[in-house]
Each structure stands twice: as structure tokens, then as C-alpha cells.
């Protein structure tokens, strides 16, 4: 039994549905991350919580988002990854790879090169937009195809 088949069995034959649901959760979490970041950078008063609480929630939500993204990303890489057509599939692969490149840049700026911290808002915004693009090139297609 190959890994895709195993994952398909584990999800009761609903692997794609699970991926679609998780991708939507990740996208929502990414949106929340941007809002929380704007709050602790004091660029926004929404959500109405302290900057400290916003920072702590941002970290917790970030860990959850990255964990889910890795799970979904790996299930794509070991399964359907490879084809470059149609364009939607190619774009999905490009954005899927870009999101991990941005995460590598983010962790570098956060943990290894603090001087790069000034780029974090740009990297974070890029991550949100890339997650949005991933969502649009899969979930939107999945829903319209149904």
C-alpha cells in the first residue's frame, strides 16, 4: 500500500475533502495572523485585546498554522505533485513551494538573523497572500467543480 492510499484509507476515502477543509482552516488562521500582527505592531485596534495577548496568540496560532501547512504540503508532495498542467495545477505548485520558502525566510528573520526583523511584516503579508492563492487554486476549484 502506498502512502497516498494509506492516507486515503485513514480519511475514509475522503483525503481530498480533508485537505480542502484543512486548507480553508489554514487560510483563516493566516488571516487571523495578519490581524494579530497589525494589533501588536499597534497599526490596528482590532481585535480589541492587549498587544501582549495579541503577540502570544499570534505565536500560538502561527505554530498551529505551520503544523497544518506542513501536513497538507507533505500529503501533496507525496501524492499528486508533479504535473505542470493545467495552469491551475502549475500555479498551485508554485504557490505551495513559495509558502515554504517564505516560512524559511520568516524563521530565519525571527530566530537566526534578528536584524532582518524589519522585513517580517512584508514576509507575513506575503505568507497571507500566498495562502490565499493556494486556497483559490484548490478549494475554489474543488467547490466550483462540485
Amino acid at each position: 500500500m502506498d502512502i497516498v492510499e494509506l492516507l486515503n484509507d485513514l480519511t475514509g476515502g475522503q483525503l481530498l475533502l480533508w485537505k480542502v477543509l484543512l486548507t480553508s482552516v489554514i487560510f483563516a488562521c493566516a488571516g487571523l495572523q495578519v490581524m494579530l500582527a497589525a494589533r501588536f505592531y499597534e497599526a490596528s485596534t482590532v481585535p480589541p485585546i492587549s498587544t501582549g495577548a495579541a503577540s502570544r496568540t499570534h505565536r500560538l496560532n502561527g505554530k498551529l498554522t505551520v503544523t497544518l501547512a506542513v501536513v497538507v504540503g507533505l500529503s501533496c508532495l507525496i501524492g499528486p505533485a508533479g504535473p505542470t498542467s493545467p495552469t491551475r495545477v502549475l500555479l498551485h505548485s508554485v504557490f505551495g513551494s513559495l509558502v515554504f520558502a517564505l516560512l524559511a525566510a520568516k524563521y530565519t528573520a525571527l530566530k537566526l538573523r534578528p536584524a532582518w526583523g524589519r522585513y517580517l511584516p512584508w514576509i507575513g503579508s506575503g505568507l497571507f497572500l500566498t495562502f490565499a492563492a493556494i486556497w483559490a487554486t484548490t478549494v475554489a476549484d474543488y467547490v466550483t467543480a462540485r
Binding site: 508533479g82 504535473p83 498542467s85 505548485s93 515554504f100 520558502a101 524559511a104 537566526l112 467543480a145
Partner: protein, 142 residues
Amino acid sequence: MSHAAGRRRPNPVWLLVVVAMAGLAVAGPVIMVRDQLADRAGVPTVAEGAQPAEGAGAGAAAGGTVRMAGLAFAPGTLTVAKGSTVVFDNDDTAPHTVTARSGGVDSGVLDPGKQFSVTVTDGFDYFCSIHPSMTAKIAVTG
């Protein structure tokens, strides 16, 4: 304090996280390039152990074959006689499924090179549950 002494040593755990993320970022393009090179080299797509479905040979004339390639089913609509066998042949580089919208027919995951056959009594619309934009139809006459 010297500049070198003032620089903190990177935490190896975070270094590992960064390397893992970079690895995931590179994996996608590597897989795409590998598949493209395999396509150009004309690597056979029939996997070892793939068994032709019953009716895939001479009998298929009464039914038909649907080919999966380039993330599409071909033909988009296959018309066959009632009671005939349709063979679905995954000639693609990605795994696919043949899943009827109304239920009743579900091939499960068909890896590249694998086949699935079904004897049809009624027409049905179907799609690939891995790539839902792949849709097609079986029409039945007689």
C-alpha cells in the same frame, strides 16, 4: 567586546526548522522537473504489476477505454452499449480516481499505470476526487 564575540550562536533547532522549510520549498520544483524529464525521456507509464482489466483487449471494442493524461479524461464523453465494459487507463504522471457523482462507481486511487474497469448499465457523470476539475461522462445506448 569583539564583533564575533557579540554574535549569538544560532540555535540548531531553529536552523533545522529553516532547513526543513527550505527543503519543502525546493521539493515541489524538483518533483515537477523530474516528471518533465521523465515525460521527455518517454519513460513508460505502465507500472510493474498493472493488470489489464477484463475486456481491455478485443472485448473493449464493445465497450471502450478512457485515458487519463495531462490531468484530463479523454474522451470527455464516451458512449457505449448497455452491459459493456469500460476500461479507465491512468496514463498520467499523477494518481487519479474515477468517482461517479451519483455514487456507485469509485475506483479508489489509481496510481500511474494502473487500470480500472467497470461494466456499465446506466450512464453516469464522474470526476477525479484528487483533481476535481477532471470531469467526464459515460453515456449508454441500447
